[in-house]
């Protein structure tokens, strides 16, 4: 008997999506209603998932094709909460552009469903299904502001490049299947034989495909354009939510089926990590658009996360998960600020528009100051601890080169964060921005700032939650 209640969150979410679609068709002007219901659905799903975490140990379903353990539940909860927050604070932005439509929350819900399937997958086919479900929803989201040229361009670019990477991924999967005779992760792990060259090809193709999804250098080209072109609230979604799912899959792939082939992939991962950290830091220096800058900075941050994975240890995985969690909090704060830069129904996205913000909006700029220093990794803010855990686990494995390159790139990265702070604090002020923001936007900014600022007082809680993740 299959324990269907274990995938109750997914079932509930898919039923809700269908219900909402029907509701949207039959009820006119129901955007607000659907938005609110979606928020509740996300919350309920998170609560159910949370309840399951307490109840079960590692379980597999459907002939081992789906795995449910603490790690997957944790990542699902983070995904759900992040999606919830994105939905919560994007309302005003969408209304300004008159794209506050029923499809928006439904698309977000479907991509979240896809991610949940990805996170739980223990089988190549299930994984690919989840991936495509989330990607298709994301393509549409990127073009959501379809009257704008840039948004359409972003969506198209994302679609073409993402399809290419999916192709590579599938090719890798088929190679692996051909040589092991199974699509199941556990079976693959047992059948893998490192003397087979083609298996290495398969791993490389899969890694390339996954690197595309998390925009690690050298497969990052789509990220700046897509981030810039998409509506800001969608960019916020892109920088946070799909990264969690893709990272989970990354960890799962490396540490379940391919664990015995460490020699083959560790060096690739170290390269991806170093390249992302350095490139993210250097390329961000010349940017003038904040969203592009965030794209490069997120490439850099993914580099640090990968550095944790490259260590092949539980500590490393945990530090990566801590990193991505703290990164999400920082990003949420950063985008909340970005969504507040509105004047006369127009949003401003250039770094120059922040000029002298501290004179007119002292609290907003103080939050930005905290968030930016935290992103730069200056103690005692949360971002420092995120990097600290990563380098702690990297140095545990005596990977000095990786650690030193990583830390030097934080110095380079500090430069462009400082440049924004300089513009906010040292430059001449411009006109004031509107201050009538929604309560949720203010709350999310305050909450993320306080979390970043106060993290050093209570560092144990997060570690405690994450230290229960055991993959190896």
């Amino acid at each position: 008997m299959i324990n269907l209640e274990l995938i109750f969150p997914e079932i509930f979410l898919s039923l809700s999506i269908m219900f909402l679609l029907i509701l949207g068709v039959f009820k006119k002007n129901s955007s607000t209603l659907i938005q609110n219901i979606s928020l509740i659905v996300l919350l309920i799903t998170a609560v159910i998932t949370f309840n399951e975490t307490l109840a079960i140990n590692q379980t597999t379903l459907f002939n081992d094709s789906i795995i449910i353990d603490y790690f997957s539940s944790f990542m699902k909860i983070v995904t759900l909460i992040a999606a919830f927050l994105v939905l919560l604070i994007s309302t005003n932005y969408l209304k300004t552009f008159k794209i506050f439509k029923i499809e928006y929350p439904i698309l977000i819900l479907s991509s979240v469903l896809g991610m949940m399937v990805m996170i739980s997958s223990n089988d190549l086919i299930v994984f690919y299904m989840g991936l495509e479900l989330q990607s298709l929803a994301l393509y549409v989201l990127a073009t959501f502001n379809r009257d704008q040229l840039k948004s359409s361009e972003a969506g198209l670019k994302y679609f073409v490049l993402s399809a290419l990477s999916s192709g590579l991924l599938l090719y890798g999967c088929s190679l692996i299947y051909g040589f092991t005779g199974s699509t199941n992760f556990n079976v693959i792990a047992n059948q893998l034989n490192s003397s087979e060259y083609m298996i290495t090809f398969g791993i490389v193709f899969i890694l390339v495909g996954l690197a595309f999804k998390i925009s690690a250098v050298p497969f990052h080209m789509w990220a700046p354009d897509v981030y810039e072109g998409s509506p800001t609230s969608v960019t916020l979604f892109f920088t946070m939510v799909p990264k969690i799912a893709a990272l989970t899959v990354f960890i799962r792939f490396l540490y379940v089926p391919f664990l015995n082939l460490i020699d083959q992939w560790q060096i690739i991962l170290i390269f991806l990590s170093i390249a992302s950290m350095l490139f993210g830091a250097i390329a961000a220096i010349g940017q003038t658009n904040i969203k592009r800058l965030i794209a490069y900075s997120s490439i850099g941050h993914i580099g640090y996360t990968l550095a944790g994975l490259a260590t092949v240890s539980n500590d490393g995985i945990q530090s990566s998960v801590i990193y991505i969690t703290i990164y999400i909090i920082m990003n949420l704060g950063l985008f909340s600020c970005l969504l507040m830069m509105k004047r006369n129904n127009k949003y401003y996205e250039n770094i120059e528009d922040l000029s002298g913000l501290s004179k007119n909006h002292p609290l907003l700029s103080f939050s930005l100051l905290i968030i930016l220093f935290s992103l730069a990794g200056i103690p005692p803010l949360a971002g420092f601890f995120a990097k600290f855990y990563i380098f702690k686990s990297v140095l545990e494995q005596s990977m000095y080169f990786l650690a030193i390159v990583g830390l030097l790139s934080t110095v380079i990265a500090a430069f462009y964060y400082l440049r924004i702070i300089k513009i906010i604090y040292f430059d001449k002020e411009k006109e004031k921005y509107d201050t009538d923001h929604s309560l949720w936007l203010k709350l999310s900014l305050t909450a993320s700032t306080l979390l970043i600022l106060m993290y050093f007082i209570f560092p144990n809680q997060l570690i405690e939650v994450i230290s229960r993740i055991n993959i190896i």
């Binding site: 220093f373 103690p379 830390l407 934080t410």
Partner: protein
């Protein structure tokens, strides 16, 4: 000890800054805000004096130790003081209120933010001097960058952006390598607790790399030649109060770090690299003294003189002689008082004439006599005239140096002469001579608060110059013990 006095010292300024943060900033509140800041920093000062009185001078053990679990099974929040660190804490709490009093007119806009930055800075600095865990130390050490960056960048002069960036990136670059070293120490020794590390010792084969990593950070912060170039820029552009903080307290972190960590944790490597330090110190003393001689900007001149003085400090520390290290600590304290006073002196004339160039001034002795007298006192203290605290420090350092290496000591002594040259020449050009500019006649002499601040700095400068025993007694036992442990380590190797 139930009363966690050190934590209160660290926390109080932060609490004060929170009060200021929640006070609406407008013109009427400026005075209130300033009194809040002054009050907090004064309470902190008296608390630190109380700490000094309670401090037991007869032992080299760490006192007032607090040990709390911070990150489970990894880092403890551990603070404590011994003879080496306590004086720096007192110096920090002494300079901060003076800084706050001094910002009468110079900082007009965003006063409350400035005070917040200064108070937060004080918290971090006290944290640096009393933390007994490497990670906690690093946290405070780096965190100080944020307020200082803002102080230079927001309230600084025309090239403030360049200077703020240079300051931040230089020091960050130095420090990240130290972070690698700290985490490596954790994996090598299993702890980052300084007291435990003193007992365990660190394997000799790792010491050289770790020493170099720490050195890269401390050398930038000291600053040592050739990575001193951020200092003149930062000083010139920072507002007066910022320069005072920078010179009086920030520069001391590295000297303190050398004694506490480089000597304490890596004795064998310290022995190996002593020639390197000697060379760099001597170059710093001679070379930057010559540079100082040629400066046209008063603040820049004093900044370069700081580099030269810190050269003496590093030289003294690595003589590993009782006199040398004692001299270094006294030199740092003395430099803290004197350079603070000199920057304030420059600030005084800058407030009146809005120029820091030496050739704007000349012949002001009869116009502002009180100022001229105090300025002379500090000039003489900076060049180490007997009877001022500067003399005690330099004399002890040179004594230690003569014991250890004759040649280095001789060359360093020449630096003292050049030091006298540039300071006296500066004084002569600014104060004596012909009245070069009729505008100078409009200058008013020191007002009450300026007089008060400079007198406050003059008293300890003279007092410790004639009677350095209170300082020497405090540090003596700790240093004797440090050198003993050091020599045992060298012998065993």
């Amino acid at each position: 000890m139930n009363f966690p006095i050190l934590s209160y010292l660290i926390l109080l300024p932060t609490i004060g800054s929170l009060f200021i943060f929640f006070t609406k900033s407008n013109k009427e509140n400026n005075i209130t805000v300033k009194y809040v800041a002054l009050f907090t920093s004064l309470v902190n000062f008296f608390l630190s004096i109380y700490l000094w009185i309670l401090f037991d001078q007869s032992t080299s053990e760490f006192q007032f130790v607090e040990d709390r679990i911070w990150i489970e099974s990894f880092i403890n929040y551990k603070v404590g003081v011994d003879g080496i660190s306590i004086l720096f804490i007192v110096l920090t709490t002494f300079i901060t209120p003076l800084c706050i009093i001094s910002i009468n007119n110079s900082i007009k806009n965003r006063l409350s933010e400035f005070l917040i930055a200064v108070l937060i800075m004080e918290s971090f600095m006290i944290g640096v001097f009393c933390s007994l865990d490497l990670v906690v130390f690093y946290l405070f050490f780096e965190a100080g960058l944020i307020p200082m960056f803002l102080i230079i960048g927001i309230w600084g002069g025309t090239r403030r952006v360049y200077s703020a960036f240079k300051f931040f990136l230089f020091t960050l670059l130095g420090s990240v390598l130290m972070l690698v070293a700290i985490i490596s120490i954790y994996w090598i020794s299993g702890t980052t607790d300084v007291i435990q590390l003193y007992e365990l010792g660190i394997d000799a084969k790792y010491q050289n790399f770790l020493w170099l990593a720490f050195f890269s950070s401390f050398a930038v912060k000291t600053p040592m030649w050739p990575v001193h170039t951020w200092l003149p820029d930062a000083h010139v552009e920072a507002p007066t109060a910022g320069s005072v903080l920078l010179a009086a307290i920030l520069l001391k972190m590295a000297g303190y770090g050398f004694i506490r960590f480089s000597l304490g944790l890596f004795p064998i490597a310290s022995e190996t690299f002593t020639p390197l330090i000697y060379t760099l110190s001597v170059i710093a003393i001679i070379f930057t003294s010559f540079i100082a001689l040629m400066q046209e900007d008063m603040k820049k001149l004093i900044a370069y003189s700081s580099v030269a003085h810190m050269g003496f400090v590093t030289l003294g520390i690595f003589t590993i002689q009782q006199q040398g290290i004692e001299g270094s600590i006294i030199q740092m304290i003395s430099h803290g008082l004197v350079s603070a006073a000199l920057f304030l002196c420059v600030g005084v004339v800058y407030d009146r004439m809005h120029s820091r160039l030496i050739n704007t001034y000349g012949g002001i002795v009869s116009i502002i006599p009180k100022y001229s007298v105090l300025f002379m006192l500090f000039t003489l203290a900076a060049l180490g005239l007997p009877g001022t605290s500067g003399f005690v420090g330099e004399f002890l350092i040179l004594m230690g140096a003569f014991k250890d290496n004759f040649l280095v000591a001789v060359v360093a002594s020449l630096g003292v002469i050049i030091g006298a040259a540039y300071m006296l020449w500066l004084y002569k050009r600014v104060v004596f001579g012909k009245l070069v500019n009729s505008d100078l006649k409009q200058m008013v002499d020191l007002n009450k608060s300026e007089l008060f601040i400079l007198t406050c700095l003059a008293i300890p400068t003279l007092f410790f110059g004639f009677y350095p025993d209170p300082l020497l007694n405090t540090i003596e036992v700790s240093i004797t013990d440090l050198i003993e442990v050091y020599n045992i380590n060298i012998m065993h190797n």
